[in-house]
């Protein structure tokens, strides 16, 4: 069982954003199933399609391992900050907190063309979703996580091995962005996609630093 591979918090709640109409839906679906199997208490699945995410949420009910498990689903437009805020509000109102957020949406370029043939509008569209969409969701979820209490988990059998340490502080939350190997290298014909994923690395790292810079104990 997967929860034997890693320590897992059965009181945790996850927000998954994906996009079944925009071709990346396969990963979001598996993320919902994997976290249901791992034992989360709740999942809010947000998608561009109400029908698609309701179906995945329903399917997850045959896989979950937590007796308190509850899946919710909603529609979101990741290019719209107000839509994202409404999604985050729904998760917080439905589950009281958001422990994890996995962003599994993304779009490809409309056509594979040499760099100089790239359509500026397609560049804006791809970066608007793959980069700015992740920025907007991480920003909104980050605000919600900052407003909630940190979590401590029981170490179980792991606690027997460490000197008196029976619990571990795991903080307020964890966010994972599904990026691509195209964040690390380039391939021909996909300038907007490659750029969007390289830029997403910046979003991830910049967001990762806010655990330092927003700390009340860190001053300059």
């Amino acid at each position: 069982m997967i929860h034997h591979l890693v320590l897992f918090n059965s009181e945790s709640v996850i927000l998954v954003t994906h996009d079944s109409r925009q071709a990346a839906g396969g990963i979001g679906r598996e993320i919902v199933f994997a976290f249901a199997e791992a034992g989360v208490k709740g999942i809010l699945l947000a998608d561009t399609s109400a029908e698609a995410c309701a179906q995945v949420a329903a399917e997850s009910l045959s896989l979950d391992t937590n007796p308190s498990y509850k899946p919710l689903s909603t529609v979101v437009d990741v290019t719209d900050a107000a839509s994202i805020d409404a999604m985050v509000k729904m998760a917080v109102e439905g589950f009281k907190r958001i422990d994890y957020c996995v962003n599994a949406f993304g779009v490809d370029v409309k056509e594979y063309v040499p760099f100089c043939e790239t359509d500026p509008e397609d560049y804006d569209r791809v970066l608007g979703i793959n980069t700015k969409g992740n920025f907007l969701v991480t920003r909104s979820v980050g605000k919600a996580m900052l407003a909630q209490e940190p979590v401590t988990v029981d170490l179980g059998r792991r606690g027997r091995l460490s000197d008196g340490m029976r619990t571990r502080d795991v903080g307020r939350g964890s966010i994972v962005n599904i990026s691509s190997a195209m964040a690390l290298v380039a391939v021909p014909g996909k300038a907007p996609y490659t750029t969007s994923k390289h830029a997403l690395t910046g979003v991830t790292k910049a967001a990762g630093t806010f655990i330092l810079f927003l700390s009340p104990l860190v001053s300059f």
Partner: protein
């Protein structure tokens, strides 16, 4: 509050080809993609979505509190560098 600060971790996973509708569309646009993967990839196939999901479970889990700001390359070693021979 300790040195964890706000205690919020942000990471990303960076897979090569993942068997998704986006990948299937790429194979439709560029039929040689499947053969390219067979030639380039040590596992000779696209990554399955469940393999990406498992990495996300780990990165979110209490077992990964020391992991922050990383890009987890899921590339079967393809990006190590040019493999000549």
């Amino acid at each position: 509050m300790d040195l964890m600060g706000a205690g919020i971790r942000v990471n990303q996973v960076n897979p090569t080809w993942v068997r998704t509708p986006m990948f299937e569309e790429e194979c439709r646009r560029v039929p040689a993609t499947a053969e390219l993967i067979r030639k380039l990839s040590p596992i000779k196939r696209a990554i399955e979505p469940d393999e990406v999901a498992a990495a996300c479970v780990y990165l979110c889990s209490p077992s990964a509190v020391t992991v922050n700001g990383i890009s987890l390359a899921m590339d079967t070693g393809l990006l190590i560098g040019p493999l000549l021979g």
